[in-house]
Amino acid sequence: MSRYSAGRIFREGLRAGRGWGQAWRTPNPKPAYDVVIIGGGGHGLATAYYLTKNHGIRNVAVIEKGWLGGGNTGRNTTAIRSNYFYPESAALYDKSVALYEGLSRDLNYNVMFSQRGMIVCAHSEPEMEMAARQCNAMQLNGVDAELLDADQVRKLEPALNFSPTMRYPIHGGVLQRRAGTGRHDAVAWGFARAADAGGVDIIQNCEVLDIRIEAGRATAVETSQGAIKAGVIGAAVAGHSSVLAGMAGYELPITSYVLQAFVSEPIKPVLNRVVLCPPFGTYASQSDKGGLVIGGGLDRIPSYGQRGNMPMQETVLSAFCEMFPSLAKVKLLRHWGGIVDVTPDSSPIIGPSGVDGLYLNCGWGTGGFKAIPVGGYLLAHLLAEGRHHALSRPFGLDRFTSGHLVDEAASSGIAH
């Protein structure tokens, strides 16, 4: 892998950029690999990278039915944060933020992680009490958090609506300064380039059609480019986790929904951080290009159609106009939908699938982008060691039978 650097940009500038090579190869699949990872999104590519980096396993293939990062990795609002309630979740997501903090240097690829901070507003006095509770929980878990009153929020984000006649007037909020945004494509491409440099075969336009099971063990994947034998298989297929489960014969507590997001025409800097107003279920940030990136809750109906429906669009955008009245006339540039895999407790599933030799990384729901490094880190550990990392142990599929749910949807009220 030829390294990227400021000096390199200068040198390539002198020869019209002719020295830039391909960032990764396009190999044909080999008949067998030690590890086959299904899904070439952020989580799958990160898994391949950490297999090479942390475990020295290089005979690895990543199989992607479309193009790299074309699913949810390229369809999110790029927020990265760890403002969770339970210790298990805080440890998981804070590890991810920590990995993101060193990621550009680690991958030699600028993922543009901008720790601009995130404010979760509180809109009544009871909500302020819950905000204080959330703040305390985060601090006890070793995650940075500050409780703000309305004046402090106004100082940080003057574009918000502070009118007392607002539908849900702002009383204050919780600030996580280490939260922020990243560049989603760069995360996928950076992991792909670094994994490829470590020897991983990244195979695009290769759809998995079936999983071969022999004596109760998953031994190969049947793909549109032929059968590929695998020592172990990792599945990181997000919204299509249930489809894969149907092929291999295990069951999942997952429902797939559409999650929509929107981006506006670029405007001058007006929004400094990621701002979430929970009663509206809507949040926004401003991209480096100036576009307002707007997200909301799930569409109402289980769906595999990668596009949004009108009622939720109406809900999110009318809320945005109430949150930022001065931005109501800004035009949308585009909007899109991704298929997210939602679990009953809004926490991910990381661990054995129930079929030997097949491990899961799924159930991230609406919050998978922020967890890409840690999801890859933990699935790589499972594939290499065959057992849980301490961070992934609470998130096994067995928690639904034992009752040890990590119910973040109920506890921190975060719309995943």
Partner: protein, 88 residues
């Protein structure tokens, strides 16, 4: 806005409807001992099919439950019937 068919009230706006769950989930007989696995499966496991799905929906204004058959990729509605009609 999409139009959904209520078997009792006819065609109405999708916002009048509420998704209740997948069709065919049967509560285990709790007068007998139910294993943790079966109970967890009843509570949490979803078929979550891609393609044609049959689901229980409620039309909120009339508060009647009914079976809606639709395509989970294209969102096309394939049919609706009262919950009590026919085999589940």
């Amino acid at each position: 806005m999409q139009i959904f068919p209520c078997p009792f009230c006819g065609h109405r706006n999708e916002t009048e409807f509420h998704f209740a769950g997948e069709l065919g989930k049967v509560r285990p007989d709790t007068t007998r001992k139910v294993s943790d696995k079966d109970w967890a499966s009843y509570l949490y496991t979803q078929r979550n099919e891609k393609g044609t799905v049959r689901e229980v929906w409620m039309h909120l204004p009339c508060a009647e439950l009914f079976v809606l058959e639709r395509d989970s990729v294209t969102m096309a509605v394939l049919g609706s019937r009262p919950l009590r009609e026919g085999q589940q």
